[in-house]
Symmetry: C2
């Protein structure tokens, strides 16, 4: 197995397409994304991707799905290196991981949150996205001592925190905060902690 070249059967085309797809996405953005460009990059015929991902939406959904998994991993990674195990510090750390991912994979980040929750969405995508959000809800649950699903006040916390970190990530990634060349942003992480503190209340 795992023939990577010169073989009629690629051996691991699915993974290769995902990797190439992410590269194309990062380089051209979702608007310049092309199935044929991905296929060409892997060195495979133009319609090979269809057998693995169906149509273009299928490959993008798969990318978004993997994105959500790495998204969750990024939050957990930040929490792992956070020395304090205090729920509040851990929650802030996961926010920093949120931002890490957005900054590290801006195009993928946009794709994930633009992936229309429309009709025939992938089941895996839904699950992966849900898992990411659950992680945030869990963090608030540990902080407040109640499940957000049973305490509206805690759910308000969840949404406030989520809105804050997501909004900042979106604006930061889209470069709209740049022209302000503002002083508080010199320390990006410190600034996020500052405003997340407000959101937590």
């Amino acid at each position: 197995m795992l023939k990577t070249k010169d073989s009629y059967h690629h051996g691991d085309l699915s993974a290769a397409l995902l990797k190439a797809g992410e590269a194309v996405l990062a380089e051209t953005g979702v608007e310049g994304f092309s199935l044929r460009a991905v296929a060409k990059r892997v060195g495979v015929s133009h319609s090979a991707p269809a057998h693995h991902f169906g149509d273009a939406r299928g490959l993008l959904d798969a990318l978004a799905t993997e994105g959500f998994r790495r998204f969750l991993a990024a939050m957990e990674a930040r929490q792992a290196v956070e020395p304090s195990k205090d729920p509040r510090q851990q929650l802030l750390a996961s926010g920093l991981g949120y931002l890490d991912f957005a900054v590290g994979s801006p195009a993928l980040f946009r794709l994930m949150f633009a992936a229309e929750r429309s009709h025939p969405k992938s089941e895996e995508l839904t699950a992966a996205a849900r898992a990411s959000f659950m992680h945030l809800a869990d963090g608030v649950a540990r902080l407040r001592g109640v499940s957000p699903y049973q305490a509206p006040a805690a759910m308000t916390d969840v949404m406030a925190i989520w809105s804050m970190v997501h909004g900042f990530a979106e604006l930061y990634v889209s470069g709209r905060l740049g022209p302000l060349d503002c002083q508080p942003l010199a320390d990006r992480d410190g600034f996020l902690v500052e405003i997340l503190d407000r959101a937590i209340g």
Copy 2:
């Protein structure tokens, strides 16, 4: 002038294309947006739009530009009907206008903030976007009594508020808050005021 039909020269094609373009955008989203579909809707040839907006990016930029103007108008409209002239209430009102626009024109809202601030951006687009942000900065200036451009603490306020309202609008519009079917969201405006209050600090 203003011949709307049966004339070789449309008379007001530019405006008609913008109107149709917004309709197509709202119906199909930016990924399904097509210059030819816009032209067909107006009843002109497939390459008529090029003479007014250059390429597809030009029409989308024009739509985003007009979007930012209406965006600003939506914020001002909410402030106008806000009985209190207290700076804090006015700032909250502009946040509600922000959300009004996002909910009323979700596809346009996404387009505006996805419009890559990349290389050859339209001058008008930059100006319109900038005017929207300035309005927010002005609101904070009135509240704090200092220009955010001179007081880092006030700039932090601007970014915190902006991140909060933008994040909430994005998540709300993309429908990701829906599955939570959470209680606090029953009163959408009230909820936004609640979390914006936290952002202001």
